[in-house]
């Protein structure tokens, strides 16, 4: 058995460190001296680099240090993964592009053509993180007026057609959301490998759709027992359909040479969080079940960083330090590796890891944590024998 490790490309800029809230990489904060991509030249003018140049550095770092590829997230105020992937295609050799995509936003046949073209351009390095939930005002921002459970029906039909036109040159389909008559990709595109499908979403509708279509069920980190139960449920449901589905965790790490150093960085970052940041994240409206499982932690109300330590090496305040889920792993290299091994023991088959700043932390985690994980796994295996 092998475990797949992915990194993450930050599509909304990146911070210099967990200590600061500004985005000093990219142009999501006002440019000032020391900014990167774009940087400022001698006379204070942008130097001509753009954020894609920094993303290129991250992707090359991740591929060099041994990550298979990276998740490319998509939210209203981010760059778009369908454009980032082809821009980076020829800058990288083995890096796989995991495009986060809401199926309702694209015509299924045209999307299949785009995906097959990207497979051809990259030697089969494309995969998808299919997102359906989210919801609330954000869905109408995107121009999507479908209700939560309808969106899962639509996702399911979308994937039927997406796979259908890849498998056959002549497909017809009569669904509630999509119709198709005599569609199919041309032979040169159809011979490409069908991309892996990773699925997110914690509601019943999500788990149902995932069991039918996905290769991987992807979850944010949750308290370990809760996550282990969820993975068991996912695998059980999928097995009942006669399919197999693997499970994956997307998690941020703060890994340092010692545990003290790791918590020190968390403490400084936490103490620098502004009231404005807390306000922004407090009570975010959404109908996504995955998000509300995390909201029970209420990191925006904490006064000390250590109120948010929910288990050894597990901290619930990451959303205060950067966009994304609240729960993450904090500790020494050995502890971080041990927690990842715990997750493997609870059913994780793959990981999307991240750390801030994404460039340097890709090297650090790839060089310091992943090799230890190998040794621990070997020790576990030896002990089991």
């Amino acid at each position: 058995m092998s475990i797949d490790f992915y990194w993450r490309l930050p599509t909304h800029g990146c911070h210099n460190s967990l200590h600061t809230s500004g985005y000093e990489r990219g142009d999501w904060s006002p440019l000032k001296p020391g900014n990167i991509a774009p940087g400022l030249g001698r006379d204070g003018e942008p130097d001509g680099f753009t954020y894609i140049d920094h993303l290129t550095e991250i992707a090359k770092a991740a591929e060099s240090v041994g990550f298979l590829g990276g998740l490319i997230p998509s939210f209203p105020n981010t760059d778009d993964p369908w454009v980032i992937a082809p821009l980076l295609a020829r800058e990288t050799r083995s890096f796989r592009f995991m495009i986060a995509f809401q199926p309702g936003f694209g015509n299924p046949v045209h999307t299949a053509r785009m995906a097959a073209s990207l497979q051809r351009a990259t030697g089969g390095r494309l995969l998808f993180n299919i997102i359906t939930g989210g919801g609330g005002p954000a869905q109408l921002w995107w121009g999507d007026s479908f209700a939560h459970d309808d969106r899962y029906g639509r996702t399911s039909e979308f994937l039927d057609i997406f796979r259908g036109v890849w498998d056959s040159p002549n497909v017809s389909y009569d669904g509630r959301f999509y119709q198709l008559r005599g569609g199919g990709l041309p032979p040169l595109l159809r011979r490409e490998e069908f991309p892996e499908i990773w699925f997110s979403g914690s509601s019943d509708a999500a788990l149902r759709t995932s069991a039918r279509h996905a290769d991987y069920y992807l979850s944010w980190l949750e308290p370990f027992d809760q996550l282990g139960d969820k993975f068991a449920r996912v695998k059980e449901r999928t097995a009942a359909l006669g399919r197999e589905q693997k499970c994956a965790v997307r998690v941020d790490l703060v890994a340092r040479a010692t545990e003290e150093e790791a918590w020190r960085d968390i403490r400084i970052g936490f103490e620098n969080v502004s009231e404005e940041t807390r306000q922004r994240w407090r009570g975010q409206p959404t109908d996504s079940v995955g998000a509300s499982r995390q909201a029970a932690l209420r990191p925006t109300d904490a006064r000390r960083y250590d109120e948010l330590i929910v288990a050894p090496n597990l901290w619930g305040g990451f959303n205060l330090l950067r966009g994304g889920p609240a729960l993450g792993i904090v500790g020494s290299y050995e502890q971080c590796a041990a927690r990842l091994a715990d997750l493997i023991a609870r059913g994780a088959d793959a990981f999307i890891l991240a750390g801030t700043p994404h460039l340097e932390e890709a090297w650090r985690i790839g060089e310091e944590v992943l090799p230890l994980l190998g040794r621990q796994a070997r020790t576990l295996l030896a002990a089991a024998e």
Binding site: T50, Y51, G104, N107, H110, M114, S117, G143, L180, G182
Partner: protein, 320 residues
């Protein structure tokens, strides 16, 4: 007026070039060390770089349902060419207008604003149904109108709200930095008055099909009348397939070997330059040229026709 000259890449043309598995095989006694990782996109990139090196202003990428997708090709070649405007052609059935506009924003940010959009001509109903597109003929123009209204709207305004028959947005619109580049230079096409009226509302350039200079001049006058009503300006463009050679005999001789697109200009370099300069004098400011094989002809046209044409139109500008 500056004359902008673009080349058009048809991804379905020269289908064997750089296509793994189908390309030109060498005899066994010739040592073949071509990299196994080469692929079709090597050819697209080579064409794009040729187009940049021969001083074209832009590269169009045709929409072909039987070939690689134009926006993927566009992003890949844009990263490998420093200067060109890159214009993928795609149908209005691609999906969400908000999503298309957002992808355009990332493209612009990464390429210093070198993206254009060309909306493909609508195909017949059977072809559209094979693309999961069941919008009836009579609604197509309305759909395109809404698509462009929403795409431009979310790029320009925040909040942006729109309720149409095909698209709907509530409290949308891009924030900084996604809105900091211009909307892609927009090329529309179509010969009837309805197409011109749509261009008058949305396009930066209306692309005409080849035809006699006086007919084209008349259509340009109609376009200008319609755009004046909208209080806008829309440039006139011409899609012109070419078969040009050093002399007329050479061109006519080669006609026998090539199935030509309708309206192809068969001429010597000098004659073609005269003809294209006449279009420019009639008000055409954007030329979209094409010929096959795409790579070799880009060099030929770039090296022989463009200097002649630019000398003629430059002289005309000075005289004016």
């Amino acid at each position: 007026m500056t004359l902008n000259i673009h080349w058009r890449l048809d991804p379905a043309a020269e289908p064997l070039r750089s296509e793994p598995g189908t390309e030109h095989a060498l005899p066994a006694f010739i040592r073949d060390r071509r990299a196994t990782s080469r692929n079709r996109f090597d050819y697209y990139v080579q064409v794009a770089r040729a187009v940049a090196q021969t001083a074209f202003d832009g590269l169009f990428v045709r929409h072909r349902s039987e070939a690689d997708e134009s926006r993927i090709i566009a992003a890949i070649v844009a990263r490998e060419t420093p200067r060109l405007l890159v214009v993928p052609e795609f149908p209005a059935s691609v999906g969400s207008a908000v999503y298309a506009a957002k992808q355009a924003a990332t493209f612009q940010r990464a390429t210093h604003g070198r993206l254009g959009w060309a909306i493909a001509a609508e195909e017949n109903a059977a072809s559209r149904e094979a693309e999961a597109d069941f919008v009836p003929d009579e609604d197509l123009r309305q759909r395109l109108d809404e698509f462009l209204t929403v795409a431009r709207g979310v790029h320009r305004d925040r909040p942006f709200t729109f309720q149409g028959r095909h698209f709907e947005v509530l409290d949308g619109g891009f924030e900084a930095p996604l809105n900091q580049h211009r909307f892609p230079k927009l090329f529309l096409q179509g010969e009837d008055d309805g197409a011109l009226a749509l261009s008058a509302r949305h396009a930066d350039v209306h692309l005409f099909a080849p035809g006699p200079v006086d007919v084209l001049a008349e259509r340009i006058a109609t376009l200008n009348t319609l755009t004046a009503v909208e209080g806008r300006q829309v440039a006139a463009g011409l899609i012109q397939p070419l078969l040009v050679r050093e002399d007329r005999d050479g061109a006519e001789n080669d006609v026998q070997h090539l199935p030509l697109a309708s309206g192809t200009l068969v001429a010597s370099y000098d004659e073609a330059a005269d003809q294209l300069a006449a279009y420019a004098a009639a008000g055409v400011t954007e030329l979209l040229l094409e010929a096959v094989p795409t790579l070799e002809e880009a060099y030929r046209v770039g090296q022989h026709l463009l200097p002649r044409l630019r000398a003629r139109t430059g002289a005309a500008r000075k005289a004016a």
